[in-house]
C-alpha cells in the first residue's frame, strides 16, 4: 500500500538528516576485498567507493557471487578491506582491532542474515537479548527484548520457544528484533526475505520500511526487484564493481 508512495512521503527525510548531520554514516573509499584462494585470488570487491547518509534505505542488487554479501559484511565491520578505507560515522575501521570491531557490531550495528540468524540453544527472547546481556544486566535486557519482540508483532506465547520451534517468518521477526534491540545506527539485512514466502516476505519488508521511517538507516541485499522497490536507493553490483 505504501510501497509506491514512501518516496513521495518521506523523500525529504533522509536529505534533511544528511543536511543536519554533516558526516555520512558510511563512506567507502576505493575499497577492494581479495580472497586469496589456492586456485587464484578472488576479487570480491573491486575498488568500490560509496557514501551512505543517515536515514537512507538502500537495496543492494546483483547476480549471485557478485560481492553483495562481502559489501554488506564490510559495512557491518565483520571484515576489513584488503585495500581502501571504510569510515563508519567518520571513524576509520580498517585499522581497528578485532575487539573494537566487535564492539561496534555489538553497539551500533544490527544484522539480519538470510539464514542461520538465531542461536539454537537460546529461546526467542534470549536470542533477542543476547547483544544486550553482553554489556547490561539480564533484567533490563529482558524487558527491552520483550518490548522489541512485541513491536515485531510476535505472539507472547512464542517468546520462550527455541528457534527450531518457530516458522521461518517468526524466526526472521525474532532476528529483526535481535538486530534492533541495541538501537543500532545501521540495520544491515542480507537477503532477509530470501527464504520466506511472498506473504511473509511482504510483512517483513513492512517492518523494515517502518524502521526506516523511524529514522534507522537500512541497507539490504536482495535479488527480488519487488523487495528492492521498498528501498529509496538501489546499488547495483556486478563482479565486485558498482554499476
Amino acid at each position: 500500500m505504501e510501497t509506491d508512495r514512501p518516496g513521495l512521503i518521506t523523500v525529504d527525510a533522509p536529505s534533511e538528516k544528511a543536511a543536519t548531520s554533516s558526516t555520512p554514516i558510511l563512506r567507502f573509499e576505493d575499497v577492494s576485498k581479495i580472497y586469496p584462494l589456492p586456485a587464484g585470488d578472488v576479487v570480491a570487491l573491486d575498488h568500490v567507493s560509496l557514501t551512505v547518509e543517515p536515514g537512507e534505505f538502500i537495496a543492494v542488487m546483483g547476480p549471485s557471487g557478485s560481492g553483495k554479501s562481502t559489501l554488506l559484511n564490510m559495512m557491518g565491520c565483520l571484515d576489513v578491506p584488503t585495500s581502501g578505507k571504510i569510515y563508519l560515522s567518520g571513524q576509520e575501521i580498517s585499522r581497528m582491532s578485532d575487539d573494537d570491531l566487535t564492539r561496534l557490531r555489538r553497539d551500533r550495528i544490527g544484522f539480519v542474515f538470510q539464514q542461520f540468524n538465531l542461536i539454537p540453544l537460546l529461546s526467542a527472547v534470549e536470542n533477542v537479548e543476547f547483544p544486550l546481556v553482553l554489556t547490561a544486566g539480564r533484567e533490563e535486557s529482558r524487558q527491552r527484548a520483550i518490548e522489541v519482540l512485541r513491536m515485531m508483532h510476535l505472539d507472547d506465547a512464542l517468546f520462550s520457544h527455541r528457534p527450531g520451534e518457530l516458522s521461518g517468518g517468526e524466526q526472521q521477526r525474532v532476528a529483526i528484533a535481535r538486530a534492533l534491540v541495541n538501537d543500532p545506527d545501521l540495520l544491515l539485512c542480507d537477503e532477509p526475505t530470501g527464504n520466506l514466502d511472498s506473504k511473509t516476505g511482504t510483512a517483513i519488508m513492512g517492518i523494515l520500511a517502518a524502521e526506516n521511517r523511524e529514522g534507522k538507516t537500512v541497507i539490504m541485499v536482495t535479488h527480488d526487484p519487488g523487495v528492492a522497490a521498498y528501498a529509496r536507493r538501489t546499488i547495483r553490483i556486478v563482479d565486485g564493481r558498482l554499476v
Binding site: G76, L78, T102, R105, L118, L121, A179
Partner: protein
C-alpha cells in the same frame, strides 16, 4: 553469565557425549587417587619397620646370586653361617651384641587348626634382648616352653600355659611376645620363638641362618661393618653385611618406584580421558561453527567465545573430578584395608590403615589434576573457536 549458560545448555543438549567424557575423567581421577593411596599404603607399611632397627647390622650368608635383600626368596637357599664364622663375627664385633639365629619352619597344630609356622631359634639369653614380653615368661634354656608371636597368639587365642603341637610334639606356651611389626632383622609376630637348645635338641646341631649385630652407637656402624667384612670375608665372600639404613634404602627405592609407577598408570588413564574431552570439544566447535560466526557477528568477543568453550570442558572436568573424588574416597577405605590385609603378615601397622591426610591429599591431587587436564584439553578447541573468522564461520555449511 550467558556464556556459562550456553555451555551448560550445550552439554545438556548432548547428554550422552557429555556423560561419556565425564566418565573418562572419573575413571582417571579414581585411578590416580586410589593407586596413589595404595602406593602410599605400601610406604606406610614399610615406614612401620623403620623405628627401632637403625642400630642393626644384618649378616647373611653370601650367595652368588643373592641381592642382599633379606626378603629375597633366593636367600632361603640353604647357605648357612658356620660356628667358626660366628666366632670371627663376634671377634670383629668386639663389645657389640651378636645374636645368631636359625630360621626354620615347622608344623603347628592348635586344636583343630594346623599349618606351617615360621620358627626363630636363638640363644635363650638373647631372646629378651630382641623381644618384649606381653604375657608369661621368656622361654628358658632346657625347658620345652616356646614363645608365640603376638598376632599368631591373637589369631589362635593362645595364652601362657596353652598347649600347642609343634612338629607333632605337644609343647607349652611359655610366653607371648609383644607385637613388634615388620623388621629387617626378624618378623616374629606370626612366628614361634624358641631357644637354640630347644631347636638343636630336636633337629641336631645346625649352622646359623643369619647373625644380627646390635651396634649401640650409630656412629660405629660403618666401622663394625668393615671389621666384620675384613674378618670373615678374608679369602672369599662368605657373608653379606648390610646395615639397616642400606636395607631401608632398598625398600624406599623399591616402593618409590612402585608408587611412581602406580601414579603413572593413573596419569595415563587421565590423559586418555583428556583426549576424549579434546575430541568432544573439537566436535562441539565444528558443529557450532555457524553459531560461533553468528555470535561473533552480533557482538561476542573472541575471549567470550573462548570462555564459553572453556566452561564446557571445565564443567566436564569439575563434574568428573568431583564424582571421581567421591568414588575415590569411597574406595580408599577398602583399598586401604585390603592392602593392609595383604601385608598384615609383615606389618604391625596393618590395622591402623592409611592416615586420612594421605587419602585426602591424593584425592585432592587427583581432582586438581583431572580438572587441570580438562582445561588443557579444552583449551585448543576453545582457542580455535575464538580464532574463527566470523564471515567464514557464517558461510560454513
Amino acid at each position: 553469565m550467558i556464556f556459562l549458560d550456553l555451555a551448560v545448555r550445550n552439554l545438556k543438549r548432548h547428554k550422552v557425549r557429555s556423560v561419556l567424557a565425564t566418565v573418562g575423567i572419573i575413571i582417571g581421577v579414581v585411578a590416580i587417587a586410589s593407586l596413589g593411596i595404595m602406593g602410599s599404603s605400601l610406604s606406610v607399611l614399610v615406614g612401620g619397620m623403620v623405628s627401632d632397627v637403625s642400630d642393626t647390622l644384618l649378616v647373611t650368608p653370601h650367595l652368588a646370586i643373592s641381592s642382599g635383600d633379606p626378603f629375597d626368596p633366593r636367600n632361603t637357599l640353604a647357605a648357612r653361617i658356620s660356628g667358626r664364622d660366628l666366632g670371627l663375627i663376634e671377634k670383629a664385633a668386639e663389645q657389640h651384641r651378636v645374636i645368631p639365629m636359625i630360621l626354620a619352619s615347622d608344623r603347628l597344630q592348635v586344636r583343630d587348626k594346623g599349618g606351617y609356622v615360621a620358627l626363630y631359634a636363638m640363644p635363650a639369653t638373647e631372646i629378651p634382648f630382641l623381644l618384649e614380653e606381653e604375657a608369661g615368661t621368656y622361654p628358658r634354656a632346657g625347658s620345652s616352653g616356646v614363645m608365640v608371636g603376638s598376632l599368631l597368639a591373637d589369631e589362635l587365642d593362645l595364652h601362657p600355659g596353652s598347649r600347642i603341637e609343634v612338629g607333632g610334639e605337644s609343647v607349652r606356651v611359655a610366653g607371648i611376645a609383644a607385637e613388634r611389626g615388620m623388621g629387617i632383622d626378624i618378623n616374629p609376630d606370626y612366628a614361634l620363638i624358641v631357644t637354640e637348645e630347644w631347636y638343636t635338641e630336636r633337629h641336631g646341631d645346625q649352622d646359623y641362618s643369619r647373625v644380627i649385630v646390635k651396634v649401640g652407637d650409630l656412629a660405629e656402624i660403618e666401622e663394625v661393618k668393615v671389621a666384620i667384612d675384613q674378618q670373615v670375608n678374608r679369602r672369599k665372600e662368605v657373608v653379606d653385611v648390610l646395615d639397616s639404613r642400606e636395607i631401608l634404602e632398598i625398600y624406599y627405592e623399591t616402593f618409590d618406584a612402585i608408587n611412581i609407577f602406580l601414579i603413572g598408570i593413573g596419569a595415563v588413564s587421565l590423559l586418555v580421558a583428556s583426549v576424549s574431552i579434546l575430541n568432544v570439544m573439537i566436535i562441539s566447535v565444528t558443529e557450532r561453527t555457524g553459531e560461533i560466526g553468528l555470535m561473533r557477528s552480533i557482538g561476542a568477543r573472541r575471549r567470550e567465545v573462548l570462555l564459553m568453550f572453556l566452561y564446557e570442558s571445565l564443567i566436564l572436568g569439575i563434574a568428573g573430578s568431583l564424582a571421581g573424588g567421591v568414588v575415590s574416597m569411597a574406595i580408599a577405605y577398602s583399598v586401604t584395608t585390603s592392602v593392609a590385609g595383604l601385608f598384615a603378615d609383615f606389618a604391625v601397622s596393618g590395622g591402623d590403615g592409611i592416615p586420612v591426610a594421605v587419602v585426602i591429599g591424593y584425592t585432592a591431587f587427583a581432582m586438581a589434576f583431572g580438572t587441570a587436564v580438562s582445561i588443557v584439553a579444552g583449551f585448543y578447541p576453545a582457542w580455535k573457536a575464538a580464532r574463527l573468522n566470523p564471515i567464514e564461520a557464517l558461510r560454513y555449511e
